[in-house]
Amino acid sequence: MTQSVVVQVGQCGNQIGCCFWDLALREHAAVNQKGIYDDAISNFFRNVDTRVVSDGDSISKGRISSLKARAVLIDMEEGVVNEILQGPLRDVFDSKQLITDISGSGNNWAVGHKVFGSLYQEQILEKLRKSAEHCDCLQCFFIIHSMGGGTGSGLGTFLLKVLEDEFPEVYRFVTAVYPSNEDDVITSPYNSMLAMKELNEHADCVLPIDNQSLFDIISKIDLVVNSGKLGTTVKPKSLVTSNVGTVTKRHKKPFDAMNNIVANLLLSLTSSARFEGSLNMDLNEISMNLVPFPQLHYLVSSLTPLYTLADVNIPPRRLDQMFSDAFSKDHQLIQADPRHSLYLACALIVRGNVQISDLRRNIERLKPALQFVSWNQEGWKTSLCSVPPVGHSHSLLALANNTCVKPTFMELRERFMRLYKKKAHLHHYLQVDGMEESAFAEAVSSLSALIQEYNELDATKSMPVPDVPRLSVAM
């Protein structure tokens, strides 16, 4: 069995990470009733005998003694991490997994990337190595950070390069939270653009998340809940927003709910690698199937049914609706409409009591409405995991490599260009040691090249592509 290590960077990364650990613990608690440390739990947690002082020893079998998250927490401010350490999740982390500073990155990518990068490189590396040593077979790093801030985008992307050099065999999955239009950080277009170049070059897979989309989804859930229709009730044991483990206990704070969605995304993504199913999907299969060209590794995700994300008990609608929803605009975790763009590839990760025939039926049903690139007309990757999310009968995570990410990138470029033309705030960056202006131009051209690749694919959308002539056998 393989293991994954979560690296959460910056405020946003740590908040999402915190939600994630809370949910992961609860999911395993629900599935693993006997309290035996098994392969599924070992994916994200190691079992440590606390009576033994020496920390290095993990227990590979037997009863669960004390679970420690396979995580590295990095922030250049102390606030969030301290809150976590004082909260209910404090036992799953220990100080050896943390890297904090007090100064903060000041929403400056260059500070995060260049200053803290070189300052903490050794320390980061040491913690990563330590976490890797605790694994039998480390398969994947999940890196969670935001794009708009300084620490997350700067140090988070710095980390990618370090990982690539140090662990070339281990996959790097980045969950990147993109700033919404109304983002209050003025420099966020700069930070995002500079980070994008790093993601382009050093990530295996990026799951872009858009704050705005998360917000819309939460609003929609609220609407359903508050409308009182459908006889909804708050579920006592649901996974989602009643997150006792998170930093604050205020239900109404939208960020909590939003973070929970992202945490759920990670749980679903790894479900098939952790639990049994009739059609397994390992994490390394994701990039294999969904990344046809090295640069095009941005996967648009959608989670359905949405009520799995809420504390509400809506009577299950038809199973088929779940599949339809996954392709609708409202369910995407970025502002995008995959149905009207071009699919390069699509993965359906199904959990719960769903059989292959349900999957086939829905693919057949949905296919005509979707456009796939000419050379991948049947670009479906499917998995069936028999363990559903806690409290629900089934769920679906759709990952799409779709040209619909392009508008997000174009908008990012536009916002960047608006600032960059005026050279606004540029000096904050150029002050930083090792930061040169060329970095900006390079970042733009990197993103433009990416956009161009999507454009070229989009261009094939409307015109019929003739089959390439095959090898011709003479006899």
């Binding site: 392969d39 039998d136 059609l279 390394n284 299969e285 059989q355 292959i356 086939r360 050379w375 090898l471």
Partner: protein, 455 residues
Amino acid sequence: MSIVTVQLGQCGNQIGFEVFDALFRDTQCSPGLCSKRENEAYQASCKERFFREEENGVPVARAVLVDMEPKVINQTLSKAGQSGRWKYGQHACFCQRQGSGNNWAYGYSVHGPKHEESIMNLIQKEVEKCDSLSGFFIIMSMAGGTGSGLGAFVTQKLQDQYSSSLKMNQIIWPYRTGEVIVQNYNSILTLSHLYRSSDALLIHENDAVHKICAKQMNIKQISFRDLNQVLAHQLGNVFQPTYSEDGSSHYRRDPLGDLMEHLVPHPEFKMLGVRNIPQMSENFLAYSTFTWPGLLKHLRQMLISGAKMEEGIDWQVRPPFSGLPPLGKMSVHKDLHFNTSIANLVILRGKDVQSADVEGFKDPALYTSWLEPVHAFSMWKTPRAFDKYEKSAALVSNSQLLVKPLDMLVGKAWNMFASKAYIHQYTRFGMEEEDFLDSFTLLEQVVASYGSLGP
């Protein structure tokens, strides 16, 4: 003679379990109307072939389980253990922690060489437990990475190491509309490599089996387990004992060898499809009666019309020049759908099997022009009923049945290859574009060769 089964990857291991379970269950079935002695001989013959005895009396499958991740193997072992009827060998498994990630190249070029020694040792241990080894039955899918890539590697090694033993690969053809996105690449790589190293490719299409589950078995929500059970039933129907040709009292010693000698002697024609009849849900079985002429008529029409199951057979299709009056104008076009055979093997089991008449399969019009029925047709039988069916017939056919799916598969892979999509995933592990081209070339030839059989 014994057959050592090698189960590879998730698909191979899940199917392997169902196959052994089906074989064993069948031997425990009420023997129908054959004598007790007869039944004992049947059981003994099946056991020698697929199971070995251990001290405690529980039969042990002659199988080696290989996967690159532990989940499925653990599940399979425990299912077999729970059955209490038979089990897998204690040290017959090989698994690693990390799968091949749907990457053929990873399975073939990384996992293969890395674990060659351990896997071949396991196989050798199993081989040493056979007094007489007929060959290997290698179960794998061709869509994924472990089954397909490692499967091709292991088959190659078996060919090197046991060149005179037979190798039959049971291959699962993925759903046409995708299970794995790179399945077409993985498939062409698998098929072309196996065409070099294996003796016969017994192919089951998931789409076809799925339809059987839906239409014939009336299963509403179809699971992989359902598919695998149908498949296991078909395989059982082929490999359970039948009488040898010369004397009627002996069971065939080497079904694998006999089957191959009949069906796949030509190097360009190695793809076999299986059809069987009847196949239905148990609920209906009780209300159904069958006659040999009826079953064989249907089976023959399934063959010539290329039908994958009994339901929805196109009765308009007629063999060309068979002397039958054409059915109006239709028949001219229908000829185009006629499925030409190279060679067929019909297996009959059950009551009154002596009276079954297979003349319909000996019509030269069914076969390609260069092979006469005397070379191209053979029949096996036994009065022992198979798995709850009073009478049942199976057809193993080397015919054009699979050329269309193959053609489509090659076409899709070629399209993808022309756009260079996903190639980087393979070149990472030491493959070159040249390797793809080799595979395409070989398979284009196979498509052309099968295509040129027709009338």
